[in-house]
């Protein structure tokens, strides 16, 4: 996967960045949560993409928040020039097929410095 699919020699990092209104987080009480619609820009495999989704942001303590997607995101190989890599993986693993669509699910915890 590292070599054929993600080509980590060339593209060691994927970044997802999105902006969240800092006031929104500040105004959350501890244990309160908010549902926010976001547009995240994704830099993966040398391709910049955009993902529109909904996130739950919950304040777990004064210095800790949890960010979680609501339902899985579907990422397709074509969006990030990953198709050739998938083909190569398929051949290497001697499989009939590898789906070019992948569901992605995440939860992130952020600590205030």
């Amino acid at each position: 996967m590292k070599q054929m699919l993600f080509e980590t020699d060339t593209f060691p990092r994927a970044t997802v960045s999105l902006s969240v209104d800092p006031e929104l987080i500040e105004n959350l009480e501890v244990s309160e949560k908010a549902l926010v619609a976001v547009s995240a820009s994704v830099d993966l495999h040398g391709v910049n993409g955009l993902i529109e989704t909904q996130l739950h942001i919950q304040k777990l303590s004064e210095s800790r928040i949890m960010v979680k997607n609501v339902t899985p995101l579907i990422v397709t190989g074509a969006e990030y020039s990953l198709e050739a890599g998938i083909e190569a993986l398929k051949t290497a693993a001697n499989l009939n097929v590898i789906s070019r669509a992948v569901p992605v699910d995440f939860v992130l915890f952020y600590e205030a410095p």
Partner: protein, 1072 residues
């Protein structure tokens, strides 16, 4: 509150308390928490006096006929016969206790006495030193315990499950899964109805209503429910797992913990171990969030879902659908402080059917299995064919132990049976294998069922109910379209691979639909008799018929104005039960006298042609030529003698003209003239006729046909056939009915008929408030409403391609300029009626006349509309309101006078208020109000509306309960609808609405109702049971003719009905 301490040893006559009990393997506290007669909630607590337990089971036997219904606080509790076993993979420390709860039906007054832990009797000694000393019997405490054990069931508090320690925040929780189709297309789906609780012991239960699957595509939702999850049998998914509550309680707020859960997933008739790695976040002191740390992978084959996935693939024409599905969940749980909120009660798993045998013969497989459980709600039958997929063939009710399957393809098949308690399955039965070595007899229904399930159900629904814009197939199709339905299937179906269902296949599918969904739901009829006999009867001419007869015999111009009034039965004129009395005979005599005088003044023009020479020959012509037409039969010899003696002038001083006038007066007042005769004669040549039966003569048949189809005496052609004795032949009669149905006068009669049926012929009985309808000249509209109905009804009933359903769901009507203007239809002017397409009106329900007829001056009358829909269109006998209803209504009006006076109170609400008393509710609650309220979207002058006369928004949501009968089964059938057009769509598919069409026509033509009684003068004429049955059979035949062929064909076939041609002297009772 009964709280029975039941230490097993007491029932054995031992008194063992305190430390002594520790000497035994386990001590047991079996309590009835509450008992409500038919069921009880019980709790078992055992204390483990042996070594620490891991992976234990605990069992006992019920004393009576208890049936385990549900349980909680333990992962598994199953019943087999009287034996009950709880099992748990967790631990119980030495000296520790464990409690669990359950609900039983049929609780016994005696509680179980003997318990086993891991198969070892609880009273087994485990080395306590005091054991030997404890065997001292204490009779007194024993008897106390025994009597306490014989508990009564007087406690009546309702059942409640264990309190839930944590409950789900449903709005914020999600449960999703991703499917991949065509290898590279992934889609996220959700279930929207989740419930989850964690009970006090840490048992977490997730229950997902599989019907709530939401995929963003309606038809896919339906297919997933129907084909994949099979929610009609298996609506709920359960996941049960033990959580460490103490650990969760101990978590600091804001902290995170990962737990590996090993739970049991119950899905699609299979319970299997499923692990889940979850993240637990303590989001506040009273909230936790539990979500999948990584997706849980569910393999279709584990849960017998592979066959369903393959069926989905075929019906959706996909190249592939993935068989492993990642599931994502995020559950938000809150600590529960409300003790009445209980943990989810999971139904107990039934014991698996212990045996299964399958035997094959000529395409059919007979399955027999052992019913080893007594808490099952039904059984699933699963089959595996060469594809290797298990598919559910069918489900059967509890206690059923056999099933017959049909195998269309040769090969080897495996079967298994799963007992179900709700969605909770047993383990599968042993597998039974058959080899299909020869094909089935070609029973088209069974073959069609198999074809339907494999080719049609994916789009049209597993119950042919239709999906989204794909039509339902579960209502009877008119005969005219059956052939085209078969052709459509052959040429275009299944849509994913047209041509794969040949003609035999298509015919089998139609046969299956016919037998399964178009089945007659009407009364059980026994129509085995070779002939359905009508009643020998005389029918007094109606005023209209009398006038038409006079016109035909004497020529037009004389108006018979002083005849007695007609009888009205239902909404139709019907003189069948009416007779001439001494009082009314004078009126007939006087009318005859005037008519004879009137004719004489015209020298008997039309009657007899004497060229003004009134001689003997003329008198003979009167008797021989005229009189048979007036009597509608040949004269017998004595009649000839009597009338000749009158006509020839011998009673009028030789004045032949005066004699003919006298004879004519006699003829027109004679019973032979003023009654229609349906008496018949014996026919020894007809061997199938019963010995006490009579066959109508050709003359009587001519009379019946003439008055029925034209309202007048026989015309020349009918008379000619009567004279030549040709109307005892079915084909000859049919030729006549076909001719008469085509006549102009019949069209007019049909128009009058439909207006009489719907009582729109008396539209002038209602008036409309000009302040509400300032621009409506209602009086001028009345004949236009009537003409609209007449033209529409003619169109449906006489068009050779006409269909019953059009009577209700028509998308067209007939209007002229003024009516079009009233309806807001543009582009029509002048007085000529034209056919126009419509979207918001059409049919005999959604039209101006009917809606206006059953409405008040300002607002509709939901009550009268509902009663007429039931009475006139569904042929239900709607009872009169109770005698004291006026008082109650006045009282209610007084109670609610403030609300009734408010302009914001809708018409619907007003009627709700004035029928809210118990005395009203027995009829209004289900039978009247929900039906009438659904018709509120048509105003009082027959136009669709969204706002009522006060400016309030109209709520036209309604329910048609119990179209089939006026009884207490109304809850069984409920058709929800919104508005008149919506109800029309329902009516178009209702058996009862179909049947009511010939039933009403039958009464109209025969003068007798199929009902065993009907109202007349407040009196009921009660038909002989056989007579009523004969009529019901005839009506059913007519209905089938209407549906399988056409309404027109039904009209034509009425003349050859047995009940018309063959008669018996049925006995009638008259009861007050």
């Amino acid at each position: 509150m009964k709280n029975l301490l039941k230490i097993y040893a007491l029932s054995l006559g031992f008194s063992i308390t305190g430390a002594a009990s520790a000497a035994e393997l386990c001590s047991v506290n079996y309590q009835t928490q509450s008992d409500w007669g038919g069921g009880a909630q019980q709790r078992v607590t055992f204390t483990n006096n042996g070594p620490a337990l891991n992976n234990w089971n605990f069992s006992w036997s019920f004393v009576g006929n208890e049936t385990l219904m549900s349980f909680w606080n333990v992962p598994s509790l199953s019943q087999s016969g009287k034996s009950v076993t709880a099992s748990h993979s967790g631990s119980v420390a030495s000296g520790g206790s464990y409690s669990f709860d359950f609900i039983v039906n049929n609780p016994s007054t005696t509680l179980p006495a003997e318990f086993f832990l891991n198969g070892i009797n609880c009273k087994t000694q485990v080395g306590g030193s005091s054991l030997s000393s404890s065997t001292t019997s204490s009779q007194s405490s024993s008897s106390v315990a025994s009597s306490a054990a014989q508990t009564s069931s007087s406690v009546s508090s309702a059942a409640s499950g264990a309190s839930a320690a944590w409950v789900l925040d449903k709005a914020d929780s999600t449960f999703s899964f991703v499917t991949v189709k065509k290898e590279h297309v992934a889609e996220v789906h959700r279930f929207t109805a989740l419930d989850a609780t964690i009970d006090e012991n840490g048992w977490a239960t997730l229950a997902v209503d599989l019907n709530s699957v939401a995929t963003n595509i309606d038809i896919r939702d339906v297919r997933m429910r129907d084909i994949l999850f099979e929610t009609s049998f298996l609506p709920t998914l359960y996941y049960r797992v033990a959580l460490d509550l103490d650990a969760i309680d101990a978590m600091p707020v804001g902290s995170t913990q990962v737990q590996n859960l090993n739970g049991k997933l119950t899905l699609h008739g299979v319970t299997a171990d499923v692990g889940a790695e979850v993240t637990v976040v303590k989001t506040s002191t009273s909230d936790v969030s539990v979500f999948s740390k990584r997706p849980v992978l569910i393999g279709a084959s584990t849960f017998d879902l592979t066959g369903g996935v393959e069926s989905l693939r075929v019906v959706a024409s996909l190249s592939s659908i993935g068989n492993t599905v990642p599931v994502y969940f995020s559950l938000e749980l809150s600590a529960n402080s409300n003790p009445s909120v209980t943990a989810i009660a999971v139904p107990g798993a039934p014991a698996a059917p212990a045996t299964l045998t399958a035997s094959f013969s000529e395409g059919l497989v007979d399955l027999d299995w052992a019913d080893s459980s007594n808490n099952e709600t039904g059984f699933l039958i699963r089959r595996k064919d060469a594809s290797g997929f298990w598919t559910t063939i069918d489900g059967v009710a509890n206690n059923v132990k056999t099933f017959e399957d049909i195998l269309l393809e040769l090969g080897v098949y495996d079967y298994k049976i799963i007992a179900l308690n709700g969605s909770m399955p047993s383990n599968p039965s042993p597998i039974a294998r058959v080899e299909a070595t020869d094909p089935p007899d070609d029973d088209p229904v069974l073959v069609g069922k198999s074809h339907y399930e494999s080719m049609c159900a994916g789009c049209h629904g597993s119950n042919a109910q239709g999906v989204a814009n794909i039509p339902a197939l579960n209502t009877r199709r008119d005969g005219a379209v059956l052939e085209s339905m078969i052709n459509t299937i052959v040429n275009t179906m299944p849509a994913t691979s047209p041509g794969s269902c040949d003609r035999a296949c298509a015919e089998a599918i139609v046969a299956f639909l016919d037998a399964t969904y178009w089945e007659e739901t009407g009364p059980e009829l026994s129509c085995e008799n070779p002939i359905n006999y009508g009643s020998r009867q005389l029918r007094l001419l109606t005023r209209r018929e009398y006038q038409n007869t006079i016109n035909a015999l004497l020529g037009t111009g004389f108006v018979a104005e002083s005849l007695p009034g007609d009888e009205l039965v239902g909404t139709f004129v019907n003189n069948t039960q009416k007779a001439v009395t001494l009082g009314t005979y004078d009126q007939y005599l006087m009318t005859a006298e005037k008519a004879a005088k009137w004719s004489a003044e015209r020298n008997f023009a039309n009657v007899v042609s004497c060229n003004n020479s009134f001689n003997q020959e003329c008198a003979n012509k009167f008797v021989n030529d005229f009189m048979p037409k007036a009597f509608r039969r040949p004269l017998d010899n004595s009649e000839k003698t009597i009338y000749t003696a009158m006509a020839n002038g011998s009673k009028t001083n030789g004045d032949v003209k005066a004699g003919i006038q006298l004879a004519l007066e006699g003829v027109l007042s004679s019973p032979a003239f003023i009654y229609r005769h349906e008496i018949g004669e014996k026919n020894p040549n007809n061997g199938s006729l019963a010995s006490d039966a009579f066959e109508l003569t050709s003359y009587e048949m001519a009379t019946w046909l003439a008055y029925t189809y034209t309202g007048a005496p026989p015309d020349a052609q009918l008379w000619d056939k009567a004279v030549n004795g040709r109307l005892r032949d079915t084909n000859e009669i049919r030729l006549e009915t076909q001719r008469l149905v085509n006549s102009a006068v019949f069209k007019q009669r049909l128009g009058e008929y439909v207006n009489a049926w719907l009582a729109t012929d008396s539209l002038s009985n209602v008036s409309k408030d000009p302040s509400v309808f300032p621009n409506v000249n209602f009086t001028a509209l009345i004949p236009l409403f009537q003409q609209e109905l007449s033209l529409f009804f003619n169109d449906v009933m006489l068009n050779p391609q006409g269909k019953f359903s059009t009577l209700y769901d028509a998308n067209y009507t007939y209007v002229n300029g003024p009516l079009a203007q009233h309806y807001g239809i543009s582009g029509v002017s002048g007085d000529q009626f034209v056919k126009v397409p419509t979207t918001n009106r059409g049919g005999i329900l959604a039209n101006g006349g009917f809606m206006a007829r059953w409405a008040d001056a300002r607002e509709p009358s939901p009550i009268r509309r509902a009663v007429r829909v039931r009475g006139l269109m569904l042929c239900q006998d709607v009872k009169d309101p109770p005698a004291n209803v006026g008082n109650d209504r006045d009282q209610l009006a007084q109670i609610h006078k403030d609300e009734l006076a408010k302009p914001t109170t809708t018409n619907r609400r007003r009627f709700e208020l004035v029928t809210s008393m118990d005395s009203c509710q027995s009829c209004h609650q289900y039978i009247i109000n929900p039906l009438g309220f659904g018709l509120e979207d048509f105003d009082s002058v027959g136009n669709p509306r969204t706002i009522d006369s006060m400016g309030n928004v109209v709520d036209a949501s309604g329910v048609l309960y119990a179209p089939q009968a006026w009884d207490n089964s109304y809850a069984n059938t409920a058709h929800q609808f919104t508005g008149v057009r919506d109800l029309s769509q329902i009516m178009a598919g209702l058996y009862e609405a179909q049947r009511c069409v010939p039933q009403t026509l039958f009464r109209y033509t025969m003068g007798i109702g199929v009902e065993d009684s009907w109202r007349q003068h407040g009196d009921y004429v009660v038909l002989d049971e056989q007579e009523a049955n004969a009529y019901a059979c005839e009506i059913e035949d007519l209905r089938k003719t209407m549906m399988d062929k056409s309404p027109r064909n039904m009209l034509e076939e009425m003349g050859v009905m047995d009940t018309v041609r063959f008669r018996k002297p049925w006995a009638r009772a008259s009861s007050m």
